[in-house]
């Protein structure tokens, strides 16, 4: 049984769909096969994305290509920038002018976007940024990886700021989270990261072609020429330390609000779990299969799947792990999310990590073996 915990979102009408047989007038199929990158792109179009800026990089390129076709069709802004630096700064400008903006890239490109992310956070400019993660460091590989967890949740640009990070683990969920990401970005005037990976981006899955619209209001901070009002300035520079600290405190207050209101996670078979797997994104799908196999072998396993990586659902995880003998973080990294897991568990239950890197994906059997080791070591530690 899966329980998804999240703020109840209104479900407005279906307004857009990917290509149908028989053209636009043809019947709406129940399910269509869509690539993750394309589904994310179309979800953004349906959610009223006004402007998209990007730069080609594998395994994200189809997202840019989809937008290159769809945005002009809708009479909206599409620019293939000369670099990710330029793309995110175009996003900064469009956002300042009041546009609902999407940018996308993969790991190396996100590193280039880090500077402007910091400026946008400091200037309180909303944007949704999709990272279809690949293997690193450096040019790494084009295989799916989760090595950018720390970058997304604690890193990217300089200074005291955080951004919400949403991690879908299926294409259908990605479609929903794109729209939710715009909601969060605008509600809190902040950049939001949608953290996917090469498998989610490249895989094709049947999805209900129901992409939801998102209404838009004109906020009172956008730039449109100071007609009949005082000029507005969108900036992150506050040269006086007192003034900057005040600004920083205001940002922190927003982050506290986000942390209090926006944590999301999914709990699967946790009620009687002796071993709690913690995994997000593609790794969570492997973990889910591993839970089934473990249960078939008599191991009472369950899966805790964070959907918001920041704010990390720490208390819910701690509660979920209360009766367990071991907690096992499964990641496509050397062990990044596991740091948050340890902080959440606070030593109450032994925490272990199982990961693959470089574009390699953990196998369900590998995860089951890691569970057995974790349970044995947890026993040991408990003695």
């Amino acid at each position: 049984m899966t329980v998804v915990h999240q703020r109840a979102a209104a479900r407005p009408q279906i307004v857009a769909s990917p290509p149908r047989a028989g053209g636009a007038a043809g019947p709406l199929p129940d399910r269509v096969l869509m690539k993750g990158n394309e589904a994310i792109a179309e979800a953004a179009v349906a959610a009223g994305c006004d402007a998209y800026f990007g730069y080609p990089i594998t395994p994200q390129a189809e997202l840019l290509e989809w937008m290159a076709r769809r945005m002009p069709e809708e009479g909206r802004v599409f620019v293939q920038a000369e670099s990710e630096l330029a793309a995110i700064n175009m996003a900064l400008g469009a956002s300042a002018a009041g546009a609902r903006v999407l940018v996308s890239s993969s790991s190396p490109g996100i590193s280039l976007m880090a500077e402007a992310m910091s400026y946008m956070a400091g200037s309180r400019l909303p944007v949704v940024l999709v990272n279809v993660m690949r293997g690193g460091p450096g040019l790494g590989s084009i295989g799916a990886a989760q090595g950018d967890y720390l970058q997304a949740t604690k890193g990217h640009g300089h200074g005291d700021y955080k951004v919400p990070v949403l991690a879908p683990s299926s294409i259908a969920e990605a479609i929903d989270l794109v729209r939710d990401a715009f909601i969060l970005a605008e509600r809190y005037r902040t950049p939001v990261i949608l953290l996917a990976d090469g498998i989610l981006g490249q895989a094709m899955e049947p999805v209900a072609p129901a992409f939801r619209r998102l209404d838009k209001s004109t906020p009172d901070w956008i730039l449109d020429g100071a007609a009949g009002r005082a000029p507005r300035v969108l900036k992150s520079l506050h040269l006086q330390p007192e003034a900057l600290e005040e600004h920083d405190l205001a940002l922190q207050a927003v982050y506290e609000q986000i942390a209090a209101n926006e944590q999301r996670w999914a709990a699967e078979q946790l009620d009687d779990a002796e071993v709690v797997l913690v995994a997000y994104g593609t790794a969570a799908r492997v973990a889910r299969t591993a839970v089934e196999r473990a249960r078939a072998d008599g191991i009472r396993a369950g899966l805790f799947r964070p959907i918001t990586l920041w704010p990390f659902p720490a208390h819910p995880l701690r509660d979920a792990a209360k009766g367990a003998r071991a907690v096992l973080a499964v990641e496509m990294s050397a062990g990044q999310m596991v740091e948050d897991v340890r902080l959440a568990i606070e030593g109450a239950v032994p925490v272990f990590h199982h990961g693959r890197m470089g574009g390699m994906v953990p196998s369900p059997d590998g995860v089951v073996a890691a569970m057995r080791r974790a349970l044995a070591a947890g026993e040991e530690a408990g003695r």
Binding site: L85, A86, N89, G93, E115, A116, S123, A226, P231, S236
Partner: protein, 276 residues
């Protein structure tokens, strides 16, 4: 009683008033050209009646506080990225007037890619490029625009072209791009030149209003502090030395038929410098 006051009292004519868009006195160093360029910009936007539909894209340099002096809706950019930021603003709001205000470190060093590609795409905004040949804000280091032999805090023995390369003539380079509708270099070296600079800035905005493409005005300016000169010595150096290395003039005004001759596809032998 001075002559000016006499005229004012007798005929009630306005001899000078601060442009409304220049909302506050600037805080630049004495003899700095930034203040002059701000005033010209304010005058031009006011004369064209554009104040309430203009969005200023700032940059990082001594002019980072331009939004404090110019009464315009403004957005800050990371160092060098103003042309990308302006692309985003103008693409979303083509009905607004958009300008970047950038120094030479900002535009000609860290922001070279952004300015070249914005120009290549023919983005329909206006660039005010204030070239004082130095990184003013960070304490007078060498910029790509610094003249050969010029002493700066990071070229203490004078710029050595063998190791640091040659001054970068950005406006000439951009002039080769078909997306550039207007490109001119002006100077604040004396009152006549200031008047011409104003005309160039005005023309650049007119071009933007026509919606055809990219417009840039490079304004050669002074940095007495960074140059280690008095304000009047700086003006002399600007006229005698800087303007020799960087000739002023209009390089491109496509609507008026001024454009460098470019090699046409199929005739690769023609020189690209022919038009200069």
């Amino acid at each position: 009683m001075t002559a000016t006051e006499h005229v004012t009292e007798q005929e009630g004519r306005t001899i000078y008033r601060r442009p409304l868009l220049l909302s506050k006195p600037t805080t630049y160093c004495p003899g700095c050209g930034h203040g002059i360029v701000h005033r010209l910009l304010a005058e031009v936007l006011e004369e064209l009646g554009l104040g309430a539909k203009t969005i200023l894209v700032g940059s990082v340099g001594c002019s980072v506080f331009a939004y404090d002096f110019l009464a315009l809706d403004s957005v800050e950019s990371p160092h060098g990225r103003a042309a990308a930021v302006a692309t985003g603003v103008k693409r979303y709001r083509p009905d607004k007037v958009v300008l970047t205000y950038q120094g030479d470190g900002d535009l000609a060093a860290i922001g070279t890619a952004e300015i070249v590609h914005a120009a290549a795409r023919g983005e329909r905004f206006t660039v005010i490029f204030v070239n004082n040949g130095i990184y003013g804000m960070t304490g007078g280091q060498m910029a790509p625009t610094t003249l050969a032999g010029q002493r700066t805090t990071s070229s203490p023995r004078g710029r050595d072209v063998e190791t640091t390369g040659y001054p970068l003539p950005v406006t000439e380079m951009l002039s080769l791009l078909p997306g550039v509708q207007y490109a001119a270099r002006a100077s604040v070296g004396d009152p006549v030149l200031v008047g011409k600079a104003k005309q160039s800035i005005k023309r650049a905005f007119e071009i933007q209003l026509e919606g055809k493409g990219f417009s840039i005005v490079e304004v050669l300016s002074t940095c007495p502090v960074g140059w280690g000169l008095t304000p009047s010595e700086s003006m002399e150096r600007l006229r005698d030395t800087v303007m020799t290395a960087y000739p002023v003039g209009t390089f491109v005004d496509r609507p008026r038929g001024i454009a460098p001759k470019l090699p046409q596809p199929g005739s690769p032998t023609r020189s690209i410098t022919e038009g200069f």
